[in-house]
Point group: D2
Chain length 174, copies 4
């Protein structure tokens, strides 16, 4: 009898690189840890800075599996907490791959790159959870796609909403 | 003596496809016409709908040159007013090419795709002129990159600001 | 009555950059000149070296229009003979755009990059004219797709075959 | 004390989809199994046909981890033996990601798509092992880059050469 497999659930965590705040880095670490504890794969932009790095380290602290979608043409600058480094040589064009490959996207802080990822996800009819956004960010993205944007107030809240979205996407069970 | 050439100035006009409003389509047509009258090349997403198509038709009405960066794997669905059809097979990943190839970007209306293009342009340290945006759009993008976002109130205003940005980028003259 | 437009015919010329031979550069210049004289748009990889640069200069010598699909994230290194610089930030990933955007591809010399472009064109069911190839190159590509590979013995021969392929693709006339 | 991690070794197996021969499928399955037994991650084009599917199933039969780089805009058509599905929406443009992300590439059979991957790998200065190629394929690729092309006569031979290349790339040990 042939065993059945299927792709694992992937949760993308997006956020700033060099300019991430201490709060965003702390929240990204917690998100990564919770994602791993739920048995999901973490996907980030893969670099060894900011939210990408912190989320990946959080996931590894809980024994999770981490994927990094790198913008450059080799693995230079990859986070040491990335297990699977995907080398795209696409620059910011890789942002579309980040969102397309994620079953749910969590935005942890907002910069121009993260804004592009949220917008691409909405364009692709995907769901995005935005963690502790300011009001102008909420207003803007809900004006674009009110049914696809979810607001979370702390990492555990984001993960609970993520679980609900994954369950809704696969009603028969993961 | 060898003649000197250099790449032509390219102005990108971004906006909705199927869901563009009548006002946006009218403004896009005017933008395209004015871009052609200024001797610039028009670049759009290339499809035969909405802002892309209207801007291209406007540019052709004034004898301009039009470039379309298509998302699909062939020229199906290209606007008949596109002279140079670039076939990317990148889906929305082509949005990054739209902005990188444009010396200045003008957003004519806001949807998720256009929002991704504005955000990618800001991430790439480019300038964006947003035509008649609502307040939430102004607030959001100026919160991301206040020095890179310019607001225009009608097509002629957008073109005047575009001229100023192109002059600033090349102080020695176009 | 609304005037009818449609995308112009694009002929891609592919070949080596830094390592192009003097013969390849001479042939590329002639190809570019002949493409312009036929009223087609020339498309190349856009850089200011080798076959790309020579073909573009040839086309400009005859008043043609030239498109360059650049691999980097800005216009640095563009050939001064490129009119329309498309900035992709895709590295060698831009090779697929080179071939998809060309109605016919002419390979002028063979290196690894050009080989990838021929192979991608064949994969995309496109036609490729290879100019003065060695026997091993002929044998390899005709073994992959005998009906899509055409051999030319000098630039005028390549252009004659290009004309035939364009006519066949559009039997009603260009 | 902080634990040290680093990206895992990735071996890419490339080959035909729908037109793969029974021999190629058998060899791909063996390659996948051996890659998993060596503790490497398998990377393929991810679809549920041909060499991609067979290699992934072979790797899963030995408890390995499998990555699939999909050409489309969603996970439709993914092999059920792919653990990590990367959704690129790049069409054949994803071939460059396949090779850039692989520490070593093994070609199992030759079609136009695989030829583009070998050529892109050579262009990127990477090493490629070609399994049981015909003479014309050997002649062509060794004419392009003699120091980067390795010929294997059966799957175990390919894996032994792969091990040697990975050891050479990381002399201090994996």
């Amino acid at each position: 009898m042939r065993e059945r497999f299927s792709p694992q659930k992937i949760v993308g965590v997006m956020g700033k690189g060099d300019r991430a705040t201490a709060l965003e880095i702390d929240q990204a670490y917690q998100l990564g840890k919770l994602i791993a504890e739920n048995g999901w794969v973490l996907l980030t932009g893969g670099r060894n800075v900011g939210v990408m790095d912190a989320a990946s380290r959080g996931a590894k602290s809980a024994g999770g599996l981490t994927v990094g979608i790198l913008p450059g043409r080799d693995k230079n600058g990859v986070s040491e907490a990335v297990d699977i480094a995907i080398v795209t040589d696409l620059g910011n064009g890789r942002n579309n791959i980040n969102v397309l490959s994620s079953d749910v996207i969590i935005a942890c802080g907002i910069g121009a790159g993260t804004a592009s990822e949220i917008a691409l996800a909405l364009k692709n009819n995907q769901k995005v959870i935005i963690l502790t956004p300011n009001q102008v960010t909420i207003d803007f993205f809900t004006s674009l796609a009110p049914d696809q944007v979810f607001i979370a107030h702390h990492p555990q809240d984001a993960i609970a909403q993520c679980q609900a979205l994954l369950d809704r996407a696969a009603p028969g069970g993961a």
